[in-house]
Amino acid sequence: MDLITIWFVLLAVLWTGYLVTEGFDFGVGMLLPVLDKGGEQQETRRRTMLTTIGPHWDGNEVWLLTAGGATFAAFPHWYATMFSGMYLALLLLLVTLILRNMGLEYRHKRHDREWVRRWDLAIVAGSYIAPFVVGVALTNLVAGLPMTEHTMGSTAYTEFDGTMLSLFTPVAVLGGLTVVAACLTHGAHFLALKTDGPIRQQARSVATRGGLVTAVLAVALFVWLGAQRGTAVSWVVSGVAAVALLAAIAANAKGREGWAFVGTSVTIGLTVVSYFVMLAPNAINGRGDSPDLTLEAAASSPMTLEIMTWAAVVFTPIMIGYTVWTYWVFRRRLRVEHMPEHEPAGAGAH
């Protein structure tokens, strides 16, 4: 494999890492107002759900930062075109991520109802909007963006040539909705795996319904996008992704929560892979007659790619190692009874 291909593959790995890990914490956020019903312990249930993602969500989000940084380093033209082209969509993503993060970090720092209610709103809204925008953005890269040719020195490159509205095509919106549904199901599997008691039971039942909705949306998306950009390999990969999703639904129905979570992880990962297969050898597909931005044109010099490859080879396993260890440390299932009583108002826990 040449360096450009390696970095294309590594970016697919980073996006997979992002959507598989932050995907479930988005899902938990979406399910806050859903799985807190059916008892008097509404607030304690929410706290239990949030505590399952407490030690992890911050690290999960770093995958997005790393994907952004790696695109900048390995494919500067891709980074520049995508980030300046999708300006207002990215603004929306940043604002929702900021508010959601602040919600996760600040909600438990005071105990008056108004305060908690407001941050819950930020968490829930952010958990729906952010994955939707990510889904729209990634689908656009594959389905194609309006682009024009530019030159810099003696090289030609392509630049986005459209508005905010040119991002919200029907297929991109479908992509956004599919990512939302997939994250919701994935989050339900995570909660079923990480909690015990009523939340676990309710999460499983929501997961089944969410899984079926995701299956319908995903199949429609795969067919629609595949008809435009599909290759033999991408059809196989998205086919396997669909099968993994069905297997996840079945595993969840049988109460095999671990396998259900693995199933949605595989589905999300393979969906990213099929996207990248449909994208290659381009970094961004052009819409209609617009020129494509090829990986070749977008890439950094061989020296930068080589240095970055060494860094990735050495440090990624270390990073994955301590991340996995964190999941091991916090492996036990949580019940509402595990939540400590609140400390006196104003003091709060951390």
Binding site: G69, L334, P340
Partner: protein
């Protein structure tokens, strides 16, 4: 305002705002880790209480530092896409490494520290905060290496085929002489902020326990914090001064215009004469017969070159030079090569003044709290409020000075700032994002400050013997 002005304003707002939180994150993580480790060493209960108390202040602040960092990373692509294309080959690498090596480390181990009470062995638990601190240092190293490249590009070549800068020597980029002085300067200044914060909180709580008659243990604990903060301020302040002095010499060598602008020195002193340093100037920064209130002869020569008769070149001289060498290339031509003088002049002085002020307070606190004394005078309260604020603002002054002083360059000698903006982004887009971010930042700052104050008011919690949590017991900490 056109897209260029707006993009510059947005960069300034984002950077300055981001940098309110970063120094606290770097400085405070070290002090929290130190207290946590001291508890394990000495079993002094107050050390564990302080680790938890300061740890809460730390996490409140960390959240905002992180989210403003995301905006910081993304805006290079959003607002400065031509810049990103031109130097992405070099500039992207430290950014990607920062995420891979530092951000994962910081967030993962901070999660372990926050949720780890009763779950992981205590030595490992304390080590988690040290690892967070190491993560913050790595992060600072990489981002400063990227910034140092903009100040003084090294280890690259311009590829005539592609018309952009390409990496030639990564080690040279990481060991840029500007970087080697900027990193210690910024890091010691971060410890200065951490120390000033702990000093202020400690002194404030100490005075409170005296007024309200709190327990003796609290009194000892807060006195210890105030004095520890004071020592950190003094030691790191010395480091800031020494590294700043070294930085001034490197700057005079590689960016002489910045040093000349810092003093508003228009004319190169005649052969054989040294350059003076003015502490205050009331008029004439525009170059017409400046009125210096206090002037120290030959000090600028010393600051710039290390020798009292060293040559420091003036603005007019350098401007003519730059015009001749850079004036006829599309990427490097600019209307003027002189940065905004008043901005550089004042920010340079304010930066130094805040640092010296904090050091003076540090020394005074050590004196005033000797032999169990407590300074109870009314005028102490404003000092408590002002000291941490001054150190944080000192950082902002320093950054404004170093970034404004680099103008008109985005990459010194290679790319003028006005050529770097995104061609496909309209003014209305930048207006929208600037208004949204500014409002959001303003709101979040109010929330954060109020939260910090309420936690400081509540003070450290009573000591509780740490215990390992059995599987069916409630957690020591949960959301």
């Amino acid at each position: 305002m056109d897209v260029l002005d707006l993009a510059r304003w947005q960069f300034a707002i984002t950077t300055v705002y981001h940098f309110f939180f970063v120094p606290i994150t770097i400085g405070l993580s070290a002090i929290v880790a130190w207290y946590h480790s001291r508890w394990i060493r000495t079993r002094d209960e107050s050390h564990l209480r302080m680790a938890k108390f300061l740890g809460k202040l730390f996490t409140i602040n960390f959240a905002l530092g992180l989210v403003t960092g995301i905006v910081q990373e993304f805006q290079f692509g959003m607002n400065w896409s031509t810049y990103s294309r031109f130097v992405g080959d070099i500039f992207g690498a430290p950014l990607a490494l920062e995420a891979l090596l530092a951000f994962f480390l910081e967030s993962t181990f901070l999660g372990l520290w926050i949720f780890g009470w009763g779950r992981i062995p205590e030595r490992l638990h304390a080590a988690c905060m040290w690892i967070v601190h190491i993560g913050t240092l790595l992060s600072a190293y990489f981002i400063l290496a990227a910034n140092s490249f903009m100040q003084h590009p090294v280890g690259y070549r311009i590829n005539p085929e592609t018309g952009r800068a390409e990496m030639a020597d990564f080690v040279a980029i990481l060991t840029n002489e500007v970087q080697l002085v900027a990193f210690p300067h910024v890091i010691t200044a971060c410890y200065l902020v951490g120390g000033a914060l702990v000093l202020a909180v400690g002194l404030h709580k100490l005075r409170q326990t005296v007024t309200k008659g709190g327990p003796d243990t609290d009194r000892r604990m807060y006195r210890h914090a105030a004095r520890l903060g004071a020592v950190v301020v003094l030691v790191s302040g010395l480091g800031v001064a020494i590294s700043g002095d070294l930085q001034g010499k490197v700057m005079t060598e590689v960016q002489p215009m910045k040093m000349a602008a810092a003093e508003a020195l228009y004319d190169t002193p005649p052969e054989g004469q040294c350059a003076p340093f003015s502490v205050l100037t009331v008029a004439g920064l525009g170059g017409e017969d400046p009125t210096h209130v206090i002037e120290i002869p030959c000090l600028l020569s010393f600051l710039g070159t290390g020798s009292f008769d060293g040559e420091v070149r003036g603005i007019a001289d350098l401007e003519a030079d730059y015009r001749a060498s850079f004036g006829d290339d599309e990427l490097t031509q600019a209307d003027t090569y002189v940065p905004p003088i008043a901005m550089t002049y004042w920010n340079f002085r304010l930066m130094m003044a805040t640092g010296f002020f904090a050091m003076a307070v540090g020394a005074w606190v050590l004196w005033a709290t000797r032999k169990d004394r407590v300074p109870m005078q009314r005028w102490v309260f404003p000092i408590i409020v002002l000291t941490p604020l001054a150190t944080v603002l000192g950082h902002s002054f320093g950054w404004i000075f170093t970034e404004v002083g680099r103008q008109p360059w985005v990459v010194f000698g290679e790319m003028a700032t006005h050529t770097a903006v995104s061609p496909s982004v309209g003014a209305s887009d930048v207006w929208t994002s600037m208004i949204v971010f500014t409002l959001l930042y303003g709101g979040l700052a109010v929330v954060e400050v109020r939260l910090l104050l309420s936690y400081i008011r509540a003070g450290a919690e009573p000591f509780e013997q740490p215990r390992l949590v059995e599987d069916d017991e409630p957690l020591e900490f949960a959301y």
